[in-house]
Assembly symmetry: C3
């Protein structure tokens, strides 16, 4: 297992994945978890492994708020305590399943993966405000990657790839100005801020459900990428040369807010939860859905490239990469991640 930050919140699911009476199995940082929603609406998250003979609890059944193992019938409370062993008067005290701290934070079900539940710090939750706001509209997305999380983080930290991987979606077709513009990169305590302003370029095909014009636009992509792997981004465009305040006043151009997050499943596979919201007062449900389909198309472009890159890396893991100016943000983030990892590793 590669080393991952453990004292951190990871998205385990979208809120709607946890439905009354249903068990959800999900592997995070190599560990199997089972999650469910109790009658009171809270979420329980236990290790998905019965203490008895290690059967997955997710193959069991809910009895009220408690979970009964489907193999030999041990019954567990939402906090992991065994409350019944069939045929025994009382369960042995050791019959306890590990529980995880879990919060539901603006439609993201977030799990603290550190051993010490008491250290779970809600001050570290990301500001994914647009996931739960009447001002923004989106469809929640999920993609499963059979690649390590680092490669996907690298991808998100260098948007020059939009011109090439996404020429037909997020990019500008043959116009690769976006890749040639230098972004401003700013180091943050727990991440990196990247601002890319691209003057006078063709609007990307991805905008089309919201923006049917071909005239050049001034475009921007402003985001933060934060430990342990969350991207929060404002982006948009307006007619080339127009002042931002004028565009805002006239309600012209397009504006998005995007929340994306990477949760390592194993050392070599990753959960990718994402959304990109448009202003709710611009475009109806058809627009929301069409933008989502465009997003999925583009994310498949990423996935194909990253999977191909991963195959090359596995073939020759010791070959060095060649750092270039465009790698500034990803290099900083990798250093930050390594430092955070050292800080939580006992010496």
């Amino acid at each position: 297992m590669n080393a991952f930050l453990r004292n951190a919140w990871y998205v385990a699911a979208w809120s709607h994945e946890l439905q009354a009476g249903k068990l959800l199995a999900r592997k995070i940082l190599g560990e199997p978890l089972v999650l469910w929603r109790t009658a009171g609406g809270a979420i329980a998250a236990l290790e998905d492994r019965c203490v008895h003979r290690h059967a997955p609890l997710s193959r069991g059944r809910l009895e009220g708020d408690a979970l009964r193992c489907g193999y030999h019938g041990l019954k567990f409370a939402p906090d992991g305590r065994c409350i019944e062993v069939p045929g025994m008067d009382s369960p042995p005290p050791a019959a306890c399943v590990r529980r995880f701290a879990v919060v539901e934070h603006r439609r993201w079900v977030m799990v603290w993966m550190g051993d010490d539940v008491a250290r779970a710090d809600t001050g570290l939750l990301p500001d994914n405000f647009s996931c739960e706001s009447p001002e923004w509209a989106y469809v929640p997305g999920y993609v499963h990657y059979e690649t390590p999380v680092e490669l996907i983080a690298d991808n998100l930290l260098d948007f020059s790839h939009l011109s090439y991987v996404h020429a037909a979606t997020f990019g500008g077709g043959a116009d690769d100005t976006l890749a040639r513009v230098q972004p401003r990169v700013e180091r943050l305590t727990r991440g990196v801020r990247v601002r890319r302003d691209i003057p006078r370029v063709p609007p990307p095909a991805y905008y089309r459900p919201l923006w049917a014009y071909d005239d050049p636009v001034d475009r921007w992509l402003h985001y933060e990428f934060l430990l342990p792997g969350t991207l929060l981004m404002h982006s948009g465009a307006q007619p080339a040369g127009m002042a931002a305040e004028d565009a805002e006043r006239q309600g012209t151009g397009v504006r998005f807010h995007s929340c994306q997050t990477l949760t390592p499943e194993t050392a070599t596979s990753t959960h990718y939860f994402f959304m990109e919201a448009h202003r709710a007062d611009r475009g109806d449900a058809n627009v929301t859905e069409a933008l989502f389909q465009g997003l999925l198309t583009a994310f498949e472009e990423d996935r194909a490239m990253i999977a191909a890159q991963w195959r090359n890396l596995q073939r020759a893991p010791d070959r060095r990469m060649l750092p270039l100016h465009m790698d500034a943000a990803l290099t900083h983030y990798r250093q930050l991640y390594a430092a955070a990892l050292r800080a939580e590793t006992p010496t």
Copy 2:
């Protein structure tokens, strides 16, 4: 390769799988075997590997009782001696394929996997009498498991799982009395005897082809589980409260005899040969088939659970299980197996 008992009989096939003129390839304890029936009706079992360039002999063809390799034409007698090399006057004496002792024992084709054929002891054959008896009717079954044999043996040694894994088939629906009843466990020289009597419970759905009533029954499951992995079981039920002799005299209730055996294919996969016979004078061929379908359904429930358990065990092989009262028989059997293994391992 895990260590398996080698000086033991393993079921390689059901008798009907060995048809005149056909070769059967089967891997046992990690070794490839080829089996066929000679004109005299005897069974030959050789290593499925030509001595020349290691092609599988099962891709060759029978010429009378002899087997010709399909790659370069070496020809072998049923005892493994090479009797012809194309283009040579006589085969080199070293051109000999390993043969295995094999007996056909009440429709089970059994192979002795020990190196020393002379040690093959027919006194160790299991008493699978109902496999070949006019008093019993069944359809022979086979399931292939992609899990180690131990986990399937564990399953068979603790029937408390019938209430949970098999609630809809062998168990009693929501009634889990079967799991709560304490079985009597008796240590045998080469196995363990388990007797579980369950008074006044709903008849399991599995009985339905033979027993259409919903009234409570007294139920029993009495079996032996013997080295290297065979279960022999009497089971049945009769109207709750009725004396056994009365039920027998009136011909009421249901009675089964079951022969099941586990043959390791590799360290992580297993052949499972099984049958459960009902009294031949109760129920016609439709009943026999319907019971068999019920058995298959229930055995798929086991397979899904054990496969899921195996995935969890692979993820964390060093995590300890928590022994509970219900593990008495399996714990004894595991100890017995380990001791038998030590006894046959040269020190």
Copy 3:
């Protein structure tokens, strides 16, 4: 990675696989290559790995003769030099991709896999003359093997298997005279020559599109097998007992020339490029196609046997094979290969 000869030419593709404007990805000796045809008709072959972040260049696009990486847009000349990094004034000198010497030799695109391009010696190209000759007609063939190259070379170095693996295609049905005849084996500096003359045998079913008669033929198979893995073969048959000059003068019988070559893809998988040509003045395009289909059928017979053999070898890699008289050519070739490998390995 097994050790393979590197200072040697390997077929990377048939000529027709390299079409204007298209990129071809092919892995050879474990290394990913990307090949394309330039406007001038020459062929470029680079390592299929961008120096920047190791994305496969074959996912990029051609811009004239240059190749632009599809991930972050680095642009490479056919000789591997980076000629543009988006957003930089000039690329760093280290941004260079490895190029391979490549020649197009009678419809075989051949790549020199040695590190030193200057050592690429066209004197070592094989004499696959019939691949590009108006006198011979064929359909080019390709099969992918999931087995190491050695096992396929072994197969080609001992044609006794034609009587058994190919009884229904290249062999003679129940007549296995071909296997019983002793071939003449001659050692060459860079290979081995094998001549097998088989008098008075039934014509193989494979001949049928060209030769509809059942009368016995005198048959011959004369070939060289040359480092690093190329078979060049004259073969044919004529009415039994007829003098060769008479058959030639009367234009009776059948004659083939075959060029086949094995290119290791990885240590355990192989590219197999092959053709078997008949005289162009005998038989039309339908005959050519029918012979090709027969060849494919027979090659599938080989592949099934070799794959089965490979599974047996993986199970017990340390078990010894038993050398027999029929292994003379393959034993010599294996020794030759080992010596060539030692010669190019620095001590």
